[in-house]
Amino acid sequence: MAEPQTSSHRLELHIPEPAARPGGTASFDHISFAIGAAARKPAPLAPEAELRELPFGLIRVMGTENSAWDPQLPPETMRQALRIMLQTRLFEDRMFRAHRQGKTSFFMKSTGEEAIGIAPAMLLGAGDMCFPTYRMQGWLIARGYPLEMMINQIYSNAKDPLAGRQLPILYSARDYGFYSLSGNVGSRFGHAVGWAMASAYKGDDKIALGFIGEGSTAEGDFHEALTFAGVYRAPAILAINNNQWAISTFAGIATADGTTFASKAIAYGIPGLRVDGNDFLAVWAATQWAAERARANLGATLIEFLTYRASGHSTSDDPTKYRPADEAAHWPLGDPIERLKAHLIQLGEWSEERHAQAGAELTEQLRSAQRAAEEVGTLGQSKPSVAEMFNCVFKEPDWRVIEQRRELGV
């Protein structure tokens, strides 16, 4: 009888670690920023099998000579985009301060990621539906949702459109193409696919846009949604907001190194695009490409937007505890607002003076909206009728809700 072989190697468990922790030198050398195969812009109706190199490249427009992906936007559209991104950042800075002043319980910023919510909001149709992440309030601002209503929601005051039932910033705005948010990450990715399948079932022309964070791509929801999207050719754009950090966990814990999130598309039989998410024009071009494909009945596209979460995860987070304090400054793709601003100035379509003036005007609008919301009240000073707590559990209340409302005396 043969002796069992003994290995000369001891096995070793691999636990990935980010390039740098606090006090270390920030580095993004492990990420490929090469344009590669994405130098070419295939026809949106190209067969998926011809697109399998794309998710390993990087779609970029700004700072790239004669990019094939340049959407050739009129200057006025770019100026409008810049104003909306700036408005979003000023809004979030203001609301973050409002949290520190005790005016709300919780807040989240999308600093550095503004282009990803705003370009699709400007580009897609009014009847299309966005299934957002919580770093996408720029969509609402782009679609003209009243700022005062956003602040009322954040303050959970008497005019909160969600009637005090939901955490700040987990908005819902059907009329603005913005699906109800939840604090459970990733769980609406499959809803985008179902919504898109329903649109196709009805012979409608609407498409869905679903977002998920890179950290949440490890959830079953992501893989289930992509399986359904691939099988039923759902007219959806499925986007990964890869901002490098899931609270304190770096992207290398969400997938193996040496690959890309966009390339996961290949196994599901749908195209994958990897996009410079801080390049407004690249975000626009990639979204437009995928939308055209979806509207032509060719099904879903997976897009990875490469970006960086310049802010903390939320008001409850201190990112200096787990990453170098200056890491954002080392992010090779810069800042979306600074880049679009520089691009417009270079084209002779914008100036520092106009930028400062726009900032002042936008700040005044925000001040006025905040004043109006604070006249209603901040968290704890004002709230919807407590009876609202018992509404919307079911379409019609059942006896439990009726009895308990009576028991509470509201």
Binding site: R188, G190, H191, V193, G194, A198, E224, T227, F228, D398
Partner: protein, 338 residues
């Protein structure tokens, strides 16, 4: 009127809805061409087309997420989960999404989905084809949970569930699909032939959610049951000789609190019978509600007869299953001080 078993009655409900509402559609594992492992969707894909009744990947979470998205668009999806034991991968979608969507969005979005799933034991299905998970759904605010016990009710309740604008878990007692079952194994199989509730109209009708049925009038005690256990209860009551009133809850959420409290206030005694394991089962909630509302009318402690607190066992199915003998003993106990 036609004589239908429960499979045919449910199939008829689905056929009626597919015919009268173009926004309804059915999907799930093996439900399309093949017609489902229990044949419940047999013929529907052929009659109404594959887009109305189609197969899905083995992905319960994906099935329910897709259904919710379709519901948010404006359709009325009727997904099937092949066995209630397989529903847990979709639990987050049901609990955190379907049940909460209307509430958290201020009525902006809702999920008018009806999730059909065969549940319960008595078929030698072992741990993974026999469980009764109704209590975990009853605990979730925002979900309705419906369990029929006859072909007539199955069709009417299912149509009502599909037409309801809230998410409904529709649990089908698989042991009753082909005939009533009184909980005594080893007898010749009964069919629904000749049973009054097997006379099922071929067209549209509803049985309202939240309205219990008094299956047997009685004066001495009340037995509360649903699904398969309604038939077991009839046998147990007969064996006991007690003049018990039997109430079939039909839906546990919404719960017909008025009918059950009126009965227990009248009889002063109550036995709750369910197949699911006892600890944390829906019987606990019923007992609590009744002692809150009927305490001074009670003549003896409320009894629960249920599955034991073990996983559902294979070889010990009939030792586990709460049959008529156990109900008869419980009825004898509640009558001790008569």
């Amino acid at each position: 009127m036609a004589t239908m078993n429960m499979i045919q009655a449910i199939n008829s409900a689905l056929d009626v809805k597919l015919t009268d509402d173009p926004d309804t559609l059915i999907f799930g594992e093996d439900v399309g061409y093949f017609g489902g492992v229990f044949r419940v969707t047999d013929g529907l894909a052929k009659k109404h087309g594959l887009k109305r009744c189609f197969d899905t990947p083995i992905s319960e979470g994906g099935i329910i997420a897709t259904a919710i998205g379709m519901g948010a668009y404006g359709l009325r999806p009727i997904p099937e989960i092949q066995f209630a034991d397989y529903i847990l991968p979709a639990f987050d979608q049901l609990v955190s999404e379907a049940a909460r969507l209307r509430y958290r969005s201020g009525g902006d979005f809702w999920a008018p989905i009806t999730v059909r799933s065969p549940y319960g034991g008595g078929i030698f299905g072992g741990q993974t084809h026999s469980q009764s998970p109704e209590a975990i759904f009853a605990h979730i605010t925002g979900l309705k949970t419906v369990i029929p016990s006859t072909p007539y009710d199955a069709k009417g309740l299912l149509i009502a569930a599909i037409e309801d604008d809230d998410p409904v878990i529709f649990l089908e007692p698989k042991r009753l699909y082909n005939g009533p079952f009184d909980g005594r194994p080893g007898q010749a199989l009964k069919t629904w032939e000749g049973h009054p509730a097997a006379d099922v109209p071929e067209g549209h009708y509803t049985v309202p959610l939240g309205k219990a049925a008094v299956v047997r009038d009685g004066q001495e005690a009340t037995v509360l049951a649903y699904g398969t256990m309604v038939h077991v209860a009839l046998a147990g009551i007969a064996e006991s000789g007690v003049d018990a009133e039997l109430i079939d809850l039909r839906s546990i959420v919404p719960l017909d609190i008025e009918t059950i409290t009126a009965s227990v206030a009248k009889t002063g005694r109550c036995v709750i019978l369910h197949e699911a394991s006892r600890f944390g089962g829906f019987g606990g909630e019923l007992a609590a509600l009744l002692q809150e509302r009927c305490f001074w009318a009670l003549k003896s402690p409320i009894e629960r007869v249920a599955g034991w607190d073990t996983p559902y066992p294979h070889a010990f199915e009939w030792d586990y299953f709460p049959g008529p003998g156990r109900l008869a003993k419980a009825l004898a106990r509640v009558m001790e001080n008569a």
